[in-house]
């Protein structure tokens, strides 16, 4: 397929797109060509300008220059509504739906099937629900569509957003990191749908930080770096290392080796955190965990396996109604996260938009927030120390920001995530729980963060590591606890493979 030469006229063409925020140029002379019947990967590091380009192209942001043609006609959508009317359907990076509406409504808002007299004033709810279920079934999700969107975890919300975009008759489909918290199964189902749409002649833009996904579905790749256009290649002509080089502007060192079992003397230490039958009715079956200082415990499972729920119970965000939680052998009960934090715990939450960032506060304030909360109101961190700390983490994690006083809401998604991780590293916890920490983070930064975690573990910190990316889990974990259907189903040692984990999950299904 990819061998076919592209048709002469692009379906959508952008030229010389420019975008500035308060004088800072974030897009500079960007061009992009989309042909009918292709999946086009838009690649770049965190903060390269991918999401901004998408927002300009769909009328969310006004551009500061450049032109756009759709099927040869110049167009300039000024609002997302206009873009939709032109046949551009978009899934934006963060889940941008309304939590207070039902799943079905979120999928059909703005284009409800109507019924009744005179072109239909009245929404046909039965039809809405039927179509919503059908659409979700296409990407393999069977849920109650009349329930509120907010009652589902972010991964489900992400799939609902995708389903919404698939539900319209579009010419162009844009997906900005749609797979960032989906697991392998869901991703495969999504790809099947994308391939079908490609066959129908849609042009699809696909943004991701997972290189394997790029090579699995896309036909051509456009790479951005620092708001500039680096180049456009057919996928066959740009191998992974060349792609990384194009994105970073340099080559990347080899990935760290697989995690080794915990050294004998470390394994002998008494557990820092221990649960005995900890659970919550309807949310999580009783679960037994132990984490030792210096140990990285991986939690693996599919969507809805109960990993997030486990983390919330450990951190006092949810209240267990059975079982015991011990820290240093002492039984504890956490009423709120601040109790957990005082015992040296930290949780980097899964949903950065709702549970993580405080959008209007600066990067500095976001980074020092948890540490300051632990120190209390009065023992304020001096301004100089705050700045130094923020600068340190901005450098360490490679956070791309104009300054440490920039509101964090203005950072790109991946950079926000890095700042939230930095917030928890700054508390120097004894036990760090990371729930999908690498969500939306680019390849280079991912490596940096994994290295950081390993180094901290070597220095004696205990880590609970949760990720939908099995490859990450098997790489960093000393032990992997496998969950399924909100139940603990087994444990695997360091050095296990992804296949072994999947086998364990599947075995239980039988």
């Amino acid at each position: 397929m990819a061998a076919l030469p592209p048709p002469a006229t692009p379906l959508l063409e952008l030229q010389g797109i420019r975008k500035q925020f308060a004088g800072v140029t974030v897009l500079d002379d960007i061009s992009l060509r989309l042909y009918p019947g292709e999946i086009h990967a838009l690649m770049g590091q965190n903060g390269a300008g991918k999401s901004t380009l998408i927002k300009v192209l769909t009328g969310v942001l006004a551009s500061n220059g450049g032109q756009m043609w759709l099927q040869g006609q110049p167009v300039a959508p000024a609002t997302p509504l206009q873009a939709q009317r032109l046949g551009i359907s978009t899934v934006y990076q963060e889940v941008n739906l309304c939590p207070n509406l039902s799943v079905a409504e979120n999928m059909f808002a703005g284009r409800y099937p109507r019924r009744g007299a005179a072109q239909g004033l009245r929404i046909d709810w039965a039809e809405v629900h039927r179509r919503a279920e059908a659409l979700l079934a296409r990407i393999g999700l069977q849920i109650d569509v009349t329930r509120l969107l907010s009652s589902y975890p972010v991964a489900v919300q992400q799939m609902v957003a995708i389903a919404r975009a698939l539900g319209v008759q579009a010419k162009v489909l844009i997906l900005d990191e749609p797979t960032s918290s989906l697991d392998e199964d869901e991703v495969q189902k999504l790809f099947e749908v994308l391939r079908r749409l490609r066959a129908e002649g849609l042009a699809i833009v696909f943004v991701t930080h997972f290189l394997n996904q790029v090579y699995a579905v896309s036909d051509r790749i456009t790479v951005l770096r620092n708001g500039r256009h680096v180049g456009e290649w057919p996928v066959a002509e740009l191998g992974p290392s060349a792609l990384i080089a194009a994105m970073l502007g340099r080559t990347m060192a080899e990935q760290a080796a697989q995690q080794q079992p915990l050294p004998e003397e470390a394994a002998q230490r008494p557990p820092l955190l221990q649960t005995e039958g900890l659970g919550q009715a309807g949310q999580l079956q009783p679960i037994d965990l132990q984490v030792r200082p210096g140990e990285v415990l991986g939690l693996a499972g599919l969507l809805g396996a109960g990993r997030t729920e486990t983390a919330r119970l450990l951190f006092g965000l949810a209240t267990p109604d059975r079982g015991v939680l011990r820290i240093d052998g002492q039984e504890v009960r956490f009423e709120s996260p601040s109790d957990a934090i005082r015992h040296g715990l930290a949780l980097c939450p899964e949903e950065r938009k709702t549970d993580g960032i405080v959008a209007e506060l600066s990067v500095r304030e976001n980074i020092v927030l948890a540490l300051q909360a632990r120190r209390g109101l009065r023992r304020t961190l001096p301004a100089a120390q705050q700045a130094a700390m923020a600068e340190h983490y901005v450098r360490l994690m490679g956070i791309k920001t104009a300054s440490i006083e920039t509101p964090i809401g203005q950072l790109s998604g991946g950079n926000q995530q890095k700042a939230v991780i930095a917030r928890w590293l700054a508390t120097e916890p004894r036990l760090l729980i990371l729930d999908e920490p690498t969500r939306g983070i680019d390849v280079a930064a991912k490596q940096e963060i994994m290295a950081q975690i390993l180094q901290l573990a070597r220095a004696g910190m205990a880590v609970v590591f949760i990720s939908s990316e099995l490859s990450e889990v098997v790489r960093v974990a000393h032990r992997i606890v496998v969950l399924r259907d909100r139940r603990q189903v087994g444990e695997l040692p360091a050095g296990s493979t992804e296949a072994q984990v999947l086998d364990m999950i599947a075995a239980q299904a039988a």
Partner: protein, 351 residues
Amino acid sequence: MNDTTAPTSLGQRLGQHRLLWPAVTLLLLLAVNASFNPGFLHLEWREGHLYGSLVDILNRAAPLVLVSLGMTLVIATRGIDISVGAVVAIAAAVAAWMIGGQVSGGAPRLPMAVAIAGALAAALACGVWNGLLVARIGMQPIVATLILMVAGRGIAQLITDGQIITIYYAPYFFIGGGWLLGLPFSLFIVAAVLVLLHLALRRTALGLFIQAVGINPTAARVAGIRARRLVVGVYAFCGLCAGLAGLLISSNVKSADGNNAGQLLELDAILAVTLGGTALAGGRFSLAGSVLGALIIQTLTYAIYSLGVPPEINLVVKAAVVFVVMLLQSAEFRATVRSAIRRPAVQELRA
């Protein structure tokens, strides 16, 4: 989205300062007053203190400024407190009842310090009550404080037995009517609260926590901020401010009126906070903005009195000024005006 170029010169930075437009409004109002009323800016030394319209405005604005400060913090945490007027009445009633006394003057029923402490304690208790309803029980701030707004005036009238209690004990008059270094003593109280609050926000993490809770309560909780305590504290502070305002008002008019003291003060306070540029959605706030907002309101009121505006059109004038102020503050409006001015000019060039 903000597409302007980066501020470079001092002038540009000043132009983008968020207090610019409130300050401009205040100056405009003062200018209007001064042009219609030549004696307006005149200050003289009379009986050992400054005398003049400006002093009056500051003195009258003192209770409103205090309440606005408390309200600012409440609003910053995404809350609202519509009970402040009632709390003013309660504090005034408690103080007046405790001081009691006779026409002849003479000794108060309880020592003045006790009366003041009692009034402030009552106000603080009101604030804590509001805070607990909001933070513990989880009621919506507007209904939680509506309860006290309705019941509070009843409580105040219960204390005063429905009468206006006149206070005859002269030392008490100093709080809201006395002079220190030639200036009204109330200004010193306001200044003290302002300085303390400023220090508390600067020297401790209070400001950071309040904003974090106001912008994203869930994230703040996950980050380990004890949001509930903070919210209770903020409402308590707001109650305390209202209590102080109650002392000022009752001392200034030498009486406590359970029904009318602080009537509609909640609206004025919220208006002051919003005029000062703080959004009701919570988060970023500005104390100086609220002070400016309160001064704008009081200057406007004063202008209405001193310009001889007929009482029937007081409200229309007030509405007009509020419309103008908020339009001035809106970047979108200024952009519209600018482009409306520019467009004809461009057309002329083309012609």
